[in-house]
Amino acid sequence: MSAHEQSFVHIASVRLLLIVWVALIFGTWLTVSASNVDLGFLNIWIGLAIATGKAVLVALYYMHLRWDKPFNAFVFLSAFFFLFLFIGFAMMDTAQYQIDLIPGYSPGMGG
Protein backbone atom coordinates (compact mmCIF):
# COMPACT_ATOMS: atom_id res chain seq x y z
CA MET A 1 0.00 0.00 0.00
CA SER A 2 2.68 2.44 0.91
CA ALA A 3 6.28 2.34 -0.07
CA HIS A 4 7.71 3.05 3.33
CA GLU A 5 6.23 -0.03 4.91
CA GLN A 6 8.91 -2.69 5.28
CA SER A 7 8.36 -6.00 3.61
CA PHE A 8 7.99 -8.59 6.24
CA VAL A 9 7.93 -12.29 5.71
CA HIS A 10 7.95 -15.06 8.19
CA ILE A 11 10.14 -18.09 7.73
CA ALA A 12 9.31 -21.11 9.82
CA SER A 13 12.17 -23.04 11.37
CA VAL A 14 12.66 -26.70 10.61
CA ARG A 15 12.22 -27.51 14.25
CA LEU A 16 8.83 -25.88 14.35
CA LEU A 17 7.73 -27.71 11.24
CA LEU A 18 8.74 -31.02 12.75
CA ILE A 19 7.13 -30.35 16.10
CA VAL A 20 3.86 -29.56 14.41
CA TRP A 21 4.20 -32.70 12.32
CA VAL A 22 4.63 -34.83 15.43
CA ALA A 23 1.63 -33.17 17.01
CA LEU A 24 -0.47 -33.87 13.93
CA ILE A 25 0.50 -37.51 13.84
CA PHE A 26 -0.25 -37.77 17.52
CA GLY A 27 -3.63 -36.11 16.89
CA THR A 28 -4.41 -38.70 14.25
CA TRP A 29 -3.58 -41.50 16.60
CA LEU A 30 -5.71 -39.87 19.25
CA THR A 31 -8.77 -39.58 17.01
CA VAL A 32 -8.53 -43.17 15.92
CA SER A 33 -8.22 -44.41 19.48
CA ALA A 34 -10.99 -42.14 20.68
CA SER A 35 -13.26 -43.55 18.05
CA ASN A 36 -12.71 -47.02 19.41
CA VAL A 37 -14.12 -46.10 22.79
CA ASP A 38 -17.86 -45.90 22.92
CA LEU A 39 -18.84 -42.64 24.57
CA GLY A 40 -22.24 -42.27 22.96
CA PHE A 41 -22.98 -38.88 21.50
CA LEU A 42 -19.73 -37.54 22.93
CA ASN A 43 -17.68 -39.44 20.35
CA ILE A 44 -18.49 -37.13 17.53
CA TRP A 45 -17.75 -34.04 19.57
CA ILE A 46 -14.48 -35.35 20.87
CA GLY A 47 -13.53 -36.34 17.36
CA LEU A 48 -14.44 -32.92 16.05
CA ALA A 49 -12.50 -31.24 18.81
CA ILE A 50 -9.34 -33.18 18.02
CA ALA A 51 -9.76 -32.65 14.29
CA THR A 52 -10.24 -28.96 14.87
CA GLY A 53 -7.14 -28.87 17.02
CA LYS A 54 -5.22 -30.41 14.15
CA ALA A 55 -6.73 -27.99 11.70
CA VAL A 56 -5.76 -25.07 13.88
CA LEU A 57 -2.18 -26.31 14.04
CA VAL A 58 -1.98 -26.57 10.29
CA ALA A 59 -3.51 -23.15 9.81
CA LEU A 60 -1.42 -21.39 12.43
CA TYR A 61 1.96 -22.85 11.66
CA TYR A 62 2.03 -24.50 8.27
CA MET A 63 -0.10 -21.80 6.76
CA HIS A 64 1.70 -19.06 8.70
CA LEU A 65 -1.55 -17.55 9.92
CA ARG A 66 0.01 -16.88 13.25
CA TRP A 67 2.34 -14.33 11.69
CA ASP A 68 0.12 -13.25 8.87
CA LYS A 69 -2.08 -10.19 8.56
CA PRO A 70 -5.05 -10.72 10.89
CA PHE A 71 -7.36 -9.84 8.06
CA ASN A 72 -6.34 -12.98 6.18
CA ALA A 73 -7.32 -15.06 9.17
CA PHE A 74 -10.55 -13.13 9.36
CA VAL A 75 -11.34 -13.95 5.75
CA PHE A 76 -10.70 -17.62 6.32
CA LEU A 77 -12.72 -17.76 9.51
CA SER A 78 -15.65 -15.92 8.00
CA ALA A 79 -15.95 -18.71 5.46
CA PHE A 80 -16.48 -21.12 8.34
CA PHE A 81 -18.95 -18.77 9.92
CA PHE A 82 -21.14 -18.72 6.84
CA LEU A 83 -20.76 -22.45 6.43
CA PHE A 84 -22.01 -23.04 9.98
CA LEU A 85 -24.90 -20.76 9.30
CA PHE A 86 -25.81 -22.85 6.29
CA ILE A 87 -25.36 -26.13 8.13
CA GLY A 88 -27.30 -24.86 11.12
CA PHE A 89 -30.36 -23.72 9.23
CA ALA A 90 -30.38 -26.76 6.98
CA MET A 91 -30.16 -29.14 9.92
CA MET A 92 -32.79 -27.31 11.87
CA ASP A 93 -35.25 -27.38 9.03
CA THR A 94 -34.69 -30.93 7.79
CA ALA A 95 -34.93 -32.29 11.31
CA GLN A 96 -38.27 -30.56 11.74
CA TYR A 97 -39.90 -31.89 8.61
CA GLN A 98 -38.68 -35.47 9.05
CA ILE A 99 -42.08 -36.56 10.33
CA ASP A 100 -43.62 -35.69 6.98
CA LEU A 101 -41.28 -37.97 5.07
CA ILE A 102 -42.34 -41.38 3.91
CA PRO A 103 -39.79 -43.64 5.62
CA GLY A 104 -37.33 -45.24 3.27
CA TYR A 105 -38.95 -43.71 0.20
CA SER A 106 -36.77 -44.39 -2.83
CA PRO A 107 -38.80 -45.95 -5.63
CA GLY A 108 -35.93 -45.52 -8.07
CA MET A 109 -33.67 -47.91 -6.16
CA GLY A 110 -35.56 -50.80 -7.62
CA GLY A 111 -36.53 -52.65 -4.49
Binding site: S7, S13, V14, T28, V32, Y62, M91, Q98
Partner: protein, 305 residues
Protein backbone atom coordinates in the same frame (compact mmCIF):
# COMPACT_ATOMS: atom_id res chain seq x y z
CA UNK B 1 12.11 -21.24 17.36
CA UNK B 2 11.19 -18.99 14.49
CA UNK B 3 13.18 -16.74 12.30
CA UNK B 4 11.94 -13.49 10.95
CA UNK B 5 13.43 -12.15 7.83
CA UNK B 6 13.05 -9.06 5.79
CA UNK B 7 12.43 -9.83 2.22
CA UNK B 8 14.84 -8.28 -0.17
CA UNK B 9 12.64 -6.29 -2.45
CA UNK B 10 15.34 -4.78 -4.60
CA UNK B 11 15.92 -6.56 -7.80
CA UNK B 12 12.65 -8.46 -7.75
CA UNK B 13 10.56 -7.95 -10.83
CA UNK B 14 7.35 -6.20 -9.85
CA UNK B 15 4.36 -6.05 -12.14
CA UNK B 16 3.81 -2.62 -13.58
CA UNK B 17 0.69 -1.81 -11.64
CA UNK B 18 2.21 -2.43 -8.23
CA UNK B 19 4.36 -0.04 -6.34
CA UNK B 20 6.64 -2.57 -4.74
CA UNK B 21 7.19 -6.24 -4.13
CA UNK B 22 5.50 -6.17 -0.78
CA UNK B 23 2.27 -4.82 -2.18
CA UNK B 24 2.41 -7.46 -4.85
CA UNK B 25 3.08 -10.24 -2.37
CA UNK B 26 0.38 -9.11 0.02
CA UNK B 27 -2.13 -8.85 -2.80
CA UNK B 28 -1.41 -12.34 -3.99
CA UNK B 29 -1.68 -13.60 -0.47
CA UNK B 30 -4.98 -11.92 0.29
CA UNK B 31 -6.27 -13.20 -3.02
CA UNK B 32 -5.25 -16.70 -2.07
CA UNK B 33 -6.95 -16.52 1.29
CA UNK B 34 -10.13 -15.31 -0.29
CA UNK B 35 -9.89 -18.17 -2.74
CA UNK B 36 -9.42 -20.62 0.11
CA UNK B 37 -12.53 -19.19 1.73
CA UNK B 38 -14.45 -20.00 -1.44
CA UNK B 39 -13.00 -23.50 -1.33
CA UNK B 40 -14.33 -23.98 2.18
CA UNK B 41 -17.81 -23.00 1.07
CA UNK B 42 -17.54 -25.08 -2.07
CA UNK B 43 -16.76 -28.20 -0.07
CA UNK B 44 -19.12 -26.86 2.55
CA UNK B 45 -22.11 -27.83 0.46
CA UNK B 46 -21.14 -31.47 0.83
CA UNK B 47 -20.69 -31.05 4.55
CA UNK B 48 -24.21 -29.66 4.69
CA UNK B 49 -25.52 -32.69 2.85
CA UNK B 50 -23.53 -34.90 5.19
CA UNK B 51 -24.79 -33.19 8.34
CA UNK B 52 -28.38 -33.21 7.24
CA UNK B 53 -28.46 -36.88 6.32
CA UNK B 54 -26.39 -37.95 9.27
CA UNK B 55 -28.57 -36.05 11.71
CA UNK B 56 -31.73 -37.53 10.32
CA UNK B 57 -30.54 -41.02 9.49
CA UNK B 58 -27.70 -41.95 11.80
CA UNK B 59 -28.35 -45.64 11.18
CA UNK B 60 -27.38 -45.28 7.53
CA UNK B 61 -24.04 -43.85 8.50
CA UNK B 62 -23.40 -46.35 11.25
CA UNK B 63 -24.17 -49.10 8.84
CA UNK B 64 -22.24 -47.74 5.90
CA UNK B 65 -19.04 -46.75 7.60
CA UNK B 66 -18.31 -50.33 8.57
CA UNK B 67 -17.48 -50.96 4.96
CA UNK B 68 -14.72 -48.39 4.98
CA UNK B 69 -11.28 -49.48 6.04
CA UNK B 70 -10.24 -47.44 9.03
CA UNK B 71 -6.59 -48.35 8.77
CA UNK B 72 -6.37 -47.31 5.15
CA UNK B 73 -8.07 -44.08 6.07
CA UNK B 74 -5.63 -43.49 8.88
CA UNK B 75 -2.75 -44.32 6.59
CA UNK B 76 -3.94 -41.73 4.15
CA UNK B 77 -4.29 -39.18 6.90
CA UNK B 78 -0.71 -39.74 7.88
CA UNK B 79 0.40 -39.51 4.27
CA UNK B 80 -1.33 -36.19 3.84
CA UNK B 81 0.12 -34.84 7.05
CA UNK B 82 3.57 -35.77 5.82
CA UNK B 83 2.88 -34.04 2.54
CA UNK B 84 1.81 -30.95 4.43
CA UNK B 85 5.10 -31.00 6.26
CA UNK B 86 7.07 -31.23 3.05
CA UNK B 87 4.95 -28.54 1.45
CA UNK B 88 5.58 -26.19 4.35
CA UNK B 89 9.23 -27.08 4.19
CA UNK B 90 9.27 -26.29 0.50
CA UNK B 91 8.05 -22.80 1.28
CA UNK B 92 10.85 -22.34 3.73
CA UNK B 93 13.34 -23.58 1.18
CA UNK B 94 12.03 -21.20 -1.44
CA UNK B 95 12.18 -18.31 0.97
CA UNK B 96 15.79 -19.11 1.73
CA UNK B 97 16.60 -19.79 -1.93
CA UNK B 98 17.65 -23.37 -1.09
CA UNK B 99 16.84 -24.63 -4.53
CA UNK B 100 17.97 -28.22 -4.05
CA UNK B 101 16.02 -28.54 -0.88
CA UNK B 102 13.03 -26.95 -2.57
CA UNK B 103 13.13 -29.41 -5.44
CA UNK B 104 13.45 -32.29 -3.03
CA UNK B 105 10.51 -31.17 -0.98
CA UNK B 106 8.38 -30.64 -4.04
CA UNK B 107 9.19 -34.13 -5.25
CA UNK B 108 8.42 -35.60 -1.87
CA UNK B 109 5.12 -33.78 -1.69
CA UNK B 110 4.14 -35.10 -5.08
CA UNK B 111 5.19 -38.56 -4.02
CA UNK B 112 2.94 -38.39 -0.98
CA UNK B 113 0.11 -37.08 -3.09
CA UNK B 114 0.45 -40.02 -5.45
CA UNK B 115 0.64 -42.33 -2.48
CA UNK B 116 -2.59 -40.91 -1.21
CA UNK B 117 -4.28 -41.48 -4.54
CA UNK B 118 -2.89 -44.99 -4.65
CA UNK B 119 -4.43 -45.91 -1.33
CA UNK B 120 -7.66 -44.26 -2.45
CA UNK B 121 -7.59 -46.39 -5.58
CA UNK B 122 -7.29 -49.54 -3.49
CA UNK B 123 -10.26 -48.48 -1.44
CA UNK B 124 -12.37 -47.50 -4.44
CA UNK B 125 -11.53 -50.78 -6.08
CA UNK B 126 -12.84 -52.79 -3.17
CA UNK B 127 -16.07 -50.78 -3.12
CA UNK B 128 -16.36 -51.28 -6.83
CA UNK B 129 -15.96 -55.02 -6.61
CA UNK B 130 -18.75 -55.28 -4.10
CA UNK B 131 -21.06 -52.83 -5.81
CA UNK B 132 -20.92 -50.46 -2.86
CA UNK B 133 -21.26 -47.39 -5.03
CA UNK B 134 -23.37 -44.23 -5.09
CA UNK B 135 -27.13 -44.47 -5.24
CA UNK B 136 -27.91 -45.46 -8.79
CA UNK B 137 -24.97 -47.87 -8.94
CA UNK B 138 -25.50 -49.24 -5.47
CA UNK B 139 -25.81 -53.02 -5.89
CA UNK B 140 -24.04 -54.61 -2.97
CA UNK B 141 -23.01 -58.17 -3.63
CA UNK B 142 -20.54 -60.78 -2.59
CA UNK B 143 -17.47 -60.98 -4.76
CA UNK B 144 -17.19 -64.68 -5.57
CA UNK B 145 -13.77 -64.35 -7.11
CA UNK B 146 -12.41 -63.70 -3.68
CA UNK B 147 -13.54 -67.07 -2.46
CA UNK B 148 -11.18 -67.09 0.47
CA UNK B 149 -12.89 -64.11 1.99
CA UNK B 150 -16.31 -65.60 1.90
CA UNK B 151 -17.36 -66.45 5.40
CA UNK B 152 -20.47 -68.45 4.92
CA UNK B 153 -21.83 -70.04 1.84
CA UNK B 154 -25.04 -71.67 0.94
CA UNK B 155 -23.59 -75.00 1.89
CA UNK B 156 -23.10 -73.87 5.43
CA UNK B 157 -26.82 -73.31 5.66
CA UNK B 158 -27.60 -76.59 4.03
CA UNK B 159 -25.23 -78.56 6.20
CA UNK B 160 -26.60 -76.82 9.24
CA UNK B 161 -23.27 -75.31 10.17
CA UNK B 162 -25.07 -72.02 10.57
CA UNK B 163 -28.47 -71.82 12.10
CA UNK B 164 -31.11 -69.26 12.32
CA UNK B 165 -29.98 -67.08 9.50
CA UNK B 166 -32.67 -66.23 7.03
CA UNK B 167 -32.79 -68.45 4.07
CA UNK B 168 -32.05 -66.08 1.27
CA UNK B 169 -28.66 -65.26 2.66
CA UNK B 170 -26.56 -67.53 0.53
CA UNK B 171 -23.11 -66.18 1.24
CA UNK B 172 -21.56 -63.75 3.62
CA UNK B 173 -18.40 -61.80 3.02
CA UNK B 174 -16.53 -59.42 5.20
CA UNK B 175 -15.67 -56.02 3.72
CA UNK B 176 -13.88 -53.81 6.15
CA UNK B 177 -15.85 -54.21 9.33
CA UNK B 178 -19.05 -54.71 7.44
CA UNK B 179 -20.49 -57.94 6.21
CA UNK B 180 -22.11 -58.37 2.85
CA UNK B 181 -24.68 -61.01 2.15
CA UNK B 182 -25.56 -62.30 -1.25
CA UNK B 183 -29.11 -61.09 -1.24
CA UNK B 184 -29.05 -58.51 1.47
CA UNK B 185 -26.38 -56.31 2.92
CA UNK B 186 -26.14 -57.25 6.54
CA UNK B 187 -23.88 -56.38 9.33
CA UNK B 188 -22.79 -58.70 12.04
CA UNK B 189 -22.35 -56.95 15.31
CA UNK B 190 -22.07 -57.65 18.96
CA UNK B 191 -25.40 -57.37 20.65
CA UNK B 192 -25.19 -55.58 23.95
CA UNK B 193 -25.49 -58.37 26.47
CA UNK B 194 -28.48 -57.03 28.31
CA UNK B 195 -30.32 -55.04 25.69
CA UNK B 196 -33.17 -56.79 23.93
CA UNK B 197 -32.30 -57.65 20.40
CA UNK B 198 -35.00 -55.64 18.75
CA UNK B 199 -34.04 -52.06 19.21
CA UNK B 200 -35.80 -49.68 16.91
CA UNK B 201 -33.26 -49.44 14.14
CA UNK B 202 -31.58 -52.72 14.79
CA UNK B 203 -34.03 -54.98 13.15
CA UNK B 204 -32.48 -58.37 13.19
CA UNK B 205 -32.50 -61.00 10.58
CA UNK B 206 -32.02 -63.47 13.32
CA UNK B 207 -29.91 -63.67 16.37
CA UNK B 208 -27.64 -66.49 15.35
CA UNK B 209 -27.12 -68.71 18.32
CA UNK B 210 -23.40 -69.18 17.89
CA UNK B 211 -22.60 -66.52 15.45
CA UNK B 212 -21.30 -67.50 12.09
CA UNK B 213 -18.05 -69.36 12.13
CA UNK B 214 -15.03 -67.27 11.44
CA UNK B 215 -16.53 -64.25 13.02
CA UNK B 216 -16.41 -65.44 16.55
CA UNK B 217 -12.91 -64.10 16.96
CA UNK B 218 -14.10 -60.65 16.04
CA UNK B 219 -16.04 -60.17 19.19
CA UNK B 220 -14.91 -59.70 22.72
CA UNK B 221 -15.06 -62.83 24.80
CA UNK B 222 -17.80 -61.72 27.15
CA UNK B 223 -20.74 -61.33 24.83
CA UNK B 224 -21.22 -64.24 22.57
CA UNK B 225 -24.52 -63.30 21.03
CA UNK B 226 -24.42 -61.96 17.52
CA UNK B 227 -26.98 -59.82 15.83
CA UNK B 228 -27.09 -59.60 12.13
CA UNK B 229 -28.13 -56.10 11.32
CA UNK B 230 -30.21 -55.62 8.24
CA UNK B 231 -29.26 -52.91 5.84
CA UNK B 232 -31.30 -49.83 6.76
CA UNK B 233 -33.44 -48.11 4.17
CA UNK B 234 -31.57 -45.73 1.92
CA UNK B 235 -28.17 -47.08 2.85
CA UNK B 236 -27.03 -45.94 -0.57
CA UNK B 237 -27.00 -42.36 0.69
CA UNK B 238 -23.91 -43.03 2.73
CA UNK B 239 -22.01 -44.27 -0.28
CA UNK B 240 -23.19 -41.37 -2.41
CA UNK B 241 -21.87 -38.97 0.15
CA UNK B 242 -18.70 -40.96 0.59
CA UNK B 243 -17.94 -40.92 -3.11
CA UNK B 244 -18.92 -37.30 -3.57
CA UNK B 245 -16.76 -36.08 -0.72
CA UNK B 246 -13.73 -38.22 -1.36
CA UNK B 247 -14.14 -37.79 -5.10
CA UNK B 248 -14.17 -34.02 -4.94
CA UNK B 249 -11.28 -34.16 -2.54
CA UNK B 250 -9.43 -36.48 -4.88
CA UNK B 251 -9.90 -34.03 -7.73
CA UNK B 252 -8.35 -31.37 -5.53
CA UNK B 253 -5.42 -33.66 -4.85
CA UNK B 254 -4.96 -34.10 -8.57
CA UNK B 255 -5.05 -30.34 -8.99
CA UNK B 256 -2.44 -30.03 -6.28
CA UNK B 257 -0.17 -32.50 -8.05
CA UNK B 258 -0.45 -30.41 -11.18
CA UNK B 259 0.46 -27.29 -9.25
CA UNK B 260 3.46 -28.91 -7.62
CA UNK B 261 4.59 -30.15 -10.98
CA UNK B 262 4.45 -26.60 -12.26
CA UNK B 263 6.47 -25.42 -9.27
CA UNK B 264 9.01 -28.12 -9.84
CA UNK B 265 9.45 -27.16 -13.45
CA UNK B 266 9.76 -23.50 -12.47
CA UNK B 267 12.39 -24.49 -9.93
CA UNK B 268 14.32 -26.33 -12.57
CA UNK B 269 14.19 -23.34 -14.81
CA UNK B 270 15.76 -21.34 -12.03
CA UNK B 271 12.75 -19.19 -11.35
CA UNK B 272 13.08 -19.38 -7.59
CA UNK B 273 16.72 -18.42 -7.54
CA UNK B 274 15.58 -14.83 -8.00
CA UNK B 275 14.02 -14.69 -4.57
CA UNK B 276 10.43 -15.03 -5.69
CA UNK B 277 8.69 -17.54 -3.53
CA UNK B 278 5.10 -16.33 -3.77
CA UNK B 279 4.09 -19.19 -6.03
CA UNK B 280 5.36 -21.84 -3.66
CA UNK B 281 3.66 -20.11 -0.79
CA UNK B 282 0.33 -19.99 -2.62
CA UNK B 283 0.37 -23.60 -3.75
CA UNK B 284 1.34 -24.71 -0.28
CA UNK B 285 -1.57 -22.79 1.22
CA UNK B 286 -3.89 -24.55 -1.17
CA UNK B 287 -2.35 -27.88 -0.32
CA UNK B 288 -2.79 -27.34 3.40
CA UNK B 289 -6.47 -26.71 2.87
CA UNK B 290 -6.73 -29.96 0.96
CA UNK B 291 -5.13 -31.58 4.00
CA UNK B 292 -7.45 -29.76 6.38
CA UNK B 293 -10.49 -31.01 4.56
CA UNK B 294 -9.22 -34.55 4.65
CA UNK B 295 -8.71 -34.38 8.40
CA UNK B 296 -12.45 -33.86 8.70
CA UNK B 297 -13.39 -36.34 6.02
CA UNK B 298 -11.43 -39.04 7.77
CA UNK B 299 -13.22 -38.35 11.01
CA UNK B 300 -16.67 -38.00 9.57
CA UNK B 301 -16.64 -40.90 7.13
CA UNK B 302 -14.38 -43.52 8.69
CA UNK B 303 -14.60 -42.99 12.41
CA UNK B 304 -18.29 -43.02 13.14
CA UNK B 305 -19.32 -44.88 16.21
Amino acid sequence: MTENAHLETDGLAVDHHFENADQQYQSAKLGMWVFLATEILFFGGLFVAYSVYRLNHPEVFIFGHHFLDKSLGALNTVILICSSLTAAWAVRAAQLKQIRMLKGMLLLTMLFAFGFLGVKAVEYNSKWKHGLLWAREYHPHVDHEEASEILITKEDFETGAVEGVVEDVTALQKVGDGVLAETETVLIEEAPAAAPAAEANRSTIAPAAEGPPGLATQGTEESSEKVIEVEPANAQTFFSIYFLMTGLHGIHVLGGIGAFMWLYLSARRGYFSTGHFTRVDMVALYWHVVDLIWIYLFLLLYLIE
